[in-house]
Amino acid sequence: MAKKEYDVLIVGSGHSGGMAAKVLTQKGISCLMLNAGPEADYVKDRANKSAHELPYRGFNKPGRLPHVYQANEFNANQWVDEKEVPYTHDPAKPYNWVRVRLLGGRSLFWSRQSFRLSDFEFKAADIDGSGENWPISHADLAPYYSQVEGIFRVTGKKEGWPQFPDGNFIEAPDQPKSQTIQKLTDLCNQRSIGVSRMRSSQGINGLASSINLLLPDAMATGKLEIVSNAIVREITTDKTTGLANGAHFVDRHSKREMHVKARVVVVAAGTLESTRLLLNSGLANSSGVMGHYLHDQIYGVSVVASVPEARDGKASAGMMGGSVFIPRFRNLTKADKRDFIKGYCMLINSGGGANPNFFPLYGEELQKKVDSYAGSCVSGSIYGERVARFENHVRINKTVTDAWGIPVLHVDVKDSDNELKMAKDAADTMEDLFKTAGWEILSKTDRFYPPGYSIHEVGTCRMGDNPKTSVLNKWNQSHDIKNLFVVDGASFVTCGWQNPTMTIVSLSMRASEYLAEQMNQRAI
């Protein structure tokens, strides 16, 4: 018997799919959500353990998850198994694709840093002449950011800086600064580098996920059905109209092939899974841009220093502790000429210890050194914007399939001089700050992890006004197929240095409201 036709099929259950489901169902639209993985049971699936109770004593099973540097033996089971769902890349061009297929996706595990993009990103081409502007500005997205910040309960400090737009924050009072943090703040102020605080989603009980902030509201409408372990293989279209009309999917356990009908398809499977699905479906790519402009952020650059007066347990009360967040400060004015474009943010913490690897010592000598430096360290790290480039792309590798016979992605991404020069500037800048403060530099690296490591991969279905150079319009709607939407990070034109979550969720909210309006007007 033919099943019912849903108003909207949503593929994926993370932040973007969850927001789409919430907005659409609250406007009376019936939705079906398919999620590729199972639902985690937070009681049954987790247990407190000691490392020695695990089979590999905390080392993780050798060779498992070689691309997931975030994996350890405690969390290994939460990530997508690379053998079950592989991807390929040239060994000389490593790419770390870090995935979660549980209900809620990566929204279960994100770090909750919550930033807006600014017009330094939305209008980047006007500023540095690279790439394209977004078809929207901060003002277009601001009302949606505000609503999302309310739902996610974002704490932050308002600064009034154009590169760091303020939002609908829960404002916590400034804590008294430690002496080291005060010194650092003064040095930054002398250099016209603005020092602020982290902005972070409080969520509820420390969880700011689709499964607790978005999906319950959608379920409460009675308009959402969710099926887990349903792996979408292909979006189907009507032969006559060319419009999307449903999807072929596979039961994860039995591999039984199924089809579902829908009037509209919203793809929210995460940037690269969404693009893989669209490429495998052979749809919506009249521009030839699909799969291109993959980018994320550089992580790994760091400088660690030790405060001499704080060594050997001699730190006085109020000397160490605390942290600062320094949003992008490079290339904000025409006068600031660097040998790279765009910028990075810095996170600096006071009060930690030294990594034993910093010292060429062993045995008792090493222990003495580590003890002496305990609590005396100030460490800085960065998140820097990678430039979105056409040549950095993904395509379907027809010779390799996953455990369900679905062709996998081949990822072809390489860093350029801009990333290297930005990293060098960041390491030099932090070193200069710490040295000027009178601290001993213990380690400095301008090296960074391979592309993808940040788990902030975006692009590959970028939005734009021109259908020849973009996949989606400014409503996250396919230029080619008007009842097909992609609401995750795939729509990004430029990523900035910011955690992309607030922008992804706000774009999904905006696109979903537009879609609901179009459906109610019978335009879709």
């Binding site: 993985g37 199972p38 985690a40 049954k44 699936d45 987790r46 247990a47 407190n48 353990k49 000691s50 490392a51 020695h52 109770e53 695990l54 590999y56 004593r57 905390g58 080392f59 099973k61 050798p62 060779g63 540097y69 350890n72 033996e73 405690f74 969390n75 290994a76 089971n77 939460q78 079950e84 549980l102 372990n229 994860r252 356990h253 790994g300 760091s302 034993p356 690897n357 910093f358 010292f359 060429p360 010592l361 062993y362 045995g363 008792e364 222990q367 455990a403 380690s443 400095k444 690296t445 090296r447 992890y449």
Partner: protein, 164 residues
């Protein structure tokens, strides 16, 4: 109601059987482990736990590149000991071992950017592995009062979730 029978952990009843490294390599690994992490501040050292035996197991099931890194490194220590002191690495005294080991230690700012030289790389990796294997050993946990207080020795574990 069906009773839940209390079980004993395997490390409480048996010792790990080393079988991957050659006898000469394993003797060098034990010697190295004892030098790099002796008992310190009341905490057990690498030889008080079974860190070398556990690493024999771990490296034996690791990708071949890591196996080769260890084998070459341990062979190098034995070759140097024979050349400089006419004995295996396991047989030389502490001062002689320092003569061989000290030049192999370099500061490493970032663990994903290890030393390029394969022997220095081996020493860097082995040093980290010996520390982790010792810290996370059941006997080290017991010595710490069973609370897994030192370093990354405990946490929230995710069981396999609905495997296919």
């Amino acid at each position: 109601m069906v009773p839940q029978i209390e079980l004993t952990e395997l490390d409480a009843v048996g010792d790990t059987t080393p079988k991957f490294f050659t006898a000469a390599q394993f003797a060098a690994l034990r010697k190295l482990s004892g030098i790099l992490l002796p008992p310190l501040k009341g905490s057990p050292g690498a030889l008080d736990t079974d860190a070398p035996e556990f690493l024999d197991f771990l490296i034996g099931v690791s990708p071949v590149e890591r196996q080769q890194l260890y084998r070459n490194g341990l062979d190098y220590l034995n070759a140097q000991a024979h050349r400089q002191f006419g004995k295996a690495f396991a047989e030389i005294d502490a001062a002689q071992a320092d003569t061989i080991l000290k030049p192999l230690f370099v500061p490493v700012a970032w663990s994903y950017d290890p030393p390029k030289d394969p022997i220095k790389h081996f020493i860097f990796e082995a040093h980290q592995d010996i520390r982790t294997a010792t810290r996370n050993a059941p006997s080290a946990n017991a010595a710490a009062g069973g609370t897994a207080r030192r370093g990354f020795a405990g946490g929230q574990y995710w069981n396999p979730i609905d495997p296919v």
